[in-house]
């Protein structure tokens, strides 16, 4: 355009700077681009969630395996401590699989770092009968998924870790008689208006551990939407953060959560049967019989009651030791 403007005859000397100006202007224009305006960003309100949370888990269906009597163990008979010790991997040390992260049942006291809880005290009482010395024990922490493999591979001699006796598990391990009768209940904020299963509606999200029977129980027996997390401890944080409305799992585990937060309470009747047993390697019935004998003694001499009262009575109410059932 600028070149075409030179209609008036001019000397080349006069035209020259104009080209230069044009050239310069083009180069400058190409070199500097104007400042870019950035649209303001939009950010959702951040909600921290545990890894692996599932807000719409697939619920297992199918009938439960009731081909057996899950609580029936072996009668104590006359197995001596010596005979029982002979089945141990190491005669001088009993190795017990436990949880270190289930409050009130088996956990590390955050202040002292020591193991404590209902399961731990039951196990300690067994150790002192079996070994004659409460300290001749090695505690091996494990996840719930590790339990069956650990007893059968010989990593541990027994597992005392909130383990429900089921027919399926009887296929791979031996169980002691029932040492705690648990059941699935609900943990809700005080004054939430939820007093039991019947108060749950489809709008309620109920948190529970993945891979357990809890999601199925809650889905079958209430309207509520189950939400699963890989570790049930995450449920407590989610309830405190208001992400879920209730937690459901075994009552003793709920008690371990309730004790950490005075604004929460365990409500409703138990809506499942969770008989807890001590697991041994498949075939090691001698150890099972001996431990059943120890459990009998603990029921009779009040040791069991003391341990229950110390850990669980405050949150779950008074209870007595479950009666043993034997298959032979």
């Amino acid at each position: 355009m600028i070149l075409h403007r030179s209609t008036v005859p001019q000397s080349s000397a006069k035209r020259r700077p104009r080209w230069a100006a044009a050239l310069g202007a083009c180069l400058v224009a190409a070199a500097c681009s104007g400042p870019v305006s950035i649209e303001p960003p939009e950010v959702d309100v951040p909600t921290p969630l545990p890894e692996g949370i599932d807000f719409d888990p697939e619920i297992e269906t199918g009938t439960a395996d009731d081909s057996c009597e899950p609580v029936a163990s072996y009668s104590p008979g006359s197995v001596t401590a010596e005979q029982a010790r002979a089945t141990l991997g190491d005669q001088d040390l009993v190795v017990i699989g436990i949880s270190q992260s289930t409050n009130l049942m088996g956990y590390r006291d955050p202040v002292t770092g020591d193991l404590a809880g209902f399961d731990i005290d039951i196990a300690k009482a067994i150790v002192s009968h079996l070994m004659g010395d409460e300290t001749k024990v090695k505690w091996v922490p494990m996840t719930s998924g590790d339990r069956e493999e650990a007893v059968n591979s010989g990593t541990v001699d027994m597992v005392v870790r909130t383990m429900t006796m089921t027919c399926k598990r009887w296929n791979s391990v031996e169980f002691s008689s029932e040492y705690y009768h648990g059941g699935q209940r609900l943990l809700v904020p005080t004054g939430s208006g939820i007093g039991g299963l019947g108060d749950l509606t489809a709008d309620h999200q109920v948190c529970t551990g993945k891979g357990s029977t809890s999601p199925r129980n809650i889905a079958e027996q209430s309207e509520a939407q189950p939400v699963t997390v890989p570790d049930f401890n995450d449920c407590l944080v989610l309830l405190q953060q208001g992400t879920v409305d209730a937690i459901t799992t075994d009552d003793c585990i709920l008690a371990g959560m309730a004790i950490q937060d005075p604004t929460l309470e365990v409500v409703g009747e138990a809506f499942s049967q969770e008989p807890y047993g001590i697991a041994f390697a498949k075939g090691n019935t001698d150890l099972a019989r001996y431990v059943n004998g120890v459990l009998e003694t603990m029921r009779e001499d009040g040791t069991w009651q003391d341990i229950y009262d110390k850990w669980l009575a405050e949150h779950l109410g008074a209870a007595t030791a479950p009666d043993p059932v034997y298959q032979d």
Binding site: R5, T7, S12, P17, P41, L49, S101, Q260
Partner: protein, 460 residues
């Protein structure tokens, strides 16, 4: 002397004023035809031919001068940009990424440690948080794209949530409630799954922008060089032609113009090559090792965080152990980050020391970790924690801190080199734009004088 804009002769503003009438397309075509016939008739005579040569020379010389000056100015601006905007953004993004992973590692260690030592580790958590917020503020100021602004906003929104979770974890831990461990784990999950990836993306974006700028800065100014060479060619040819026409061997004006153009071309080439080599050096000795070192640093911190999480979960978090193993494989595995570093910079007199020491520390840490896992699996939890975060010489905290220190030292050396090389590149360009412009103007004036003298002879 600095030149603010390309040198355009001052008459340009007078001549190119907006007052000049703009003819329609028809008028333009007509005037084009008129001008062409006038031009072709005048080119049949020597004075006209001389003016034609001068016009070509003017275009070429001015073109060379303007493009050379603008390309040098452009380079300076880009190099300045690498030390300012995109440079500051990449440094801030890197610091942010590092500070966040350090905060996570410290928070987790502090949760595990008891008493006064815990407070010490917590101090380093607070320092890391301060670094992270400062880096976020800088990044917020320097971002230039919507994507980067979004990342900064996400990070800003997540940071207080993260610190809230960490403080809840601390409080519950003090009260002796095990749920503290879950809060700590949730904090780390937020950091690992949301914040660190965002910081990582921001850092990569910034480095991409920096690389783009660097390529621009080290590009050779072909257009300016070609124009200068063409101007030189025309000058030489014009002198040969004049010699034939006028039987005079030298035209002083044209000789002067030739000398000026030779000087300008030489200077342009030298300056372009020097600045490219300094820029390249800033890349090879500065930003390359910086990037690799930062990656190693962050990987180490994340592995450390996972190690602590594993113990916080009382050994019942298998995923944490897997993540630790993955991070450590990245760090010390075959062809891992430390191996890459020692392969690339093992011969470097300044870097080889800290790098070798870092490899040793990482080895000690990795070996010690296996011992910690063994203890934890065997139920000796207190011993495992003591070995992991205690302050004895065998403690993993000692090896990790040593590794941290050695990587920091190597980072400081590389950062200094980057700044030096960028400074050299900037200095090598200083004054060049003005000088090149002046030389091309000199060539222009000389040529004009030389040719005008001949033209005047015809009119005389």
């Amino acid at each position: 002397m600095t030149v603010q804009s390309p040198p355009a002769p001052p008459q340009a503003q007078v001549q190119g004023g907006p007052a000049a009438p703009v003819p329609g397309p028809a008028g333009a075509a007509e005037s084009g035809r008129q001008r062409f016939s006038r031009l072709s008739s005048s080119l049949r005579h020597t004075p006209g031919q001389l003016r034609g040569i001068l016009a070509v020379l003017v275009v070429l010389t001015l073109g060379a001068g303007v493009t050379a000056a603008t390309s040098i100015l452009g380079k300076s601006a880009v190099i300045e940009d690498t030390t300012s905007q995109s440079g500051r953004l990449s440094v801030a993004a890197l610091e942010l990424y590092q500070a966040l992973s350090q905060a996570d590692a410290s928070a987790a260690s502090s949760y595990l440690t008891a008493g006064a030592a815990s407070e010490e580790v917590h101090d380093s958590y607070r320092e890391a948080l301060r670094d992270a917020t400062v880096a976020l503020t800088t990044a917020a100021r320097e971002v230039e794209t919507h994507a980067d602004a979004q990342l900064v906003a996400e990070l800003n929104a997540h940071l207080p949530v993260y610190t809230g979770l960490v403080e809840s974890a601390r409080t519950f831990n003090r009260l002796g409630e095990p749920v503290g461990a879950t809060y700590q784990r949730q904090a780390s999950t937020l950091m690992r799954s949301e914040m660190l990836p965002d910081a990582n993306t921001l850092q990569h974006n910034a480095i991409d922008q920096l690389n783009e700028a660097r390529d621009e800065a080290s590009a050779f100014p072909w257009v300016a060089t070609a124009l200068a060479a063409a101007a030189l060619g025309v000058l030489v040819w014009a002198q040969l032609w004049l010699t034939r026409r006028t039987n005079r061997v030298f035209n002083l004006g044209l000789v002067g113009a030739t000398v000026a153009m030779i000087g300008m071309t030489g200077w342009l080439v030298l300056v372009a090559l020097a600045s490219a080599s300094h820029t390249e050096r800033s890349h090879e000795e500065g930003s390359d090792p910086l990037e690799l070192l930062a990656e190693a640093h962050i990987t180490a911190q994340q592995a450390r965080a996972e190690e602590s999480l594993l113990l916080i979960a009382r050994g019942e978090d298998e995923k944490a152990d897997e993540r630790y193993t993955d991070q450590m494989a990245l760090l010390v595995g075959e062809g891992g980050l430390l191996a890459q570093l020692s392969e690339a910079y093992g011969d470097d007199p300044d870097l080889s020391g800290p790098l070798a020491a870092a490899e040793e520390s990482a080895g000690a840490w990795s070996a010690g970790h296996d011992e910690v896992i063994k203890l934890a699996k065997a139920g000796s939890y207190a011993e495992a924690v003591e070995l992991a975060v205690g302050d004895s010489d065998e403690s993993l905290a000692t090896s990790f801190d040593a590794l941290d220190e050695q990587l920091t030292e190597a980072t400081a050396i590389s950062a200094e080199r980057f700044v030096d090389a960028t400074g050299d590149a900037e200095r090598s360009l200083s004054g060049a734009a003005a000088g090149l412009a002046a030389l091309s103007l000199l060539a222009l004036v000389s040529a004009a004088i030389g040719i005008q003298m001949r033209v005047a002879e015809y009119h005389a």
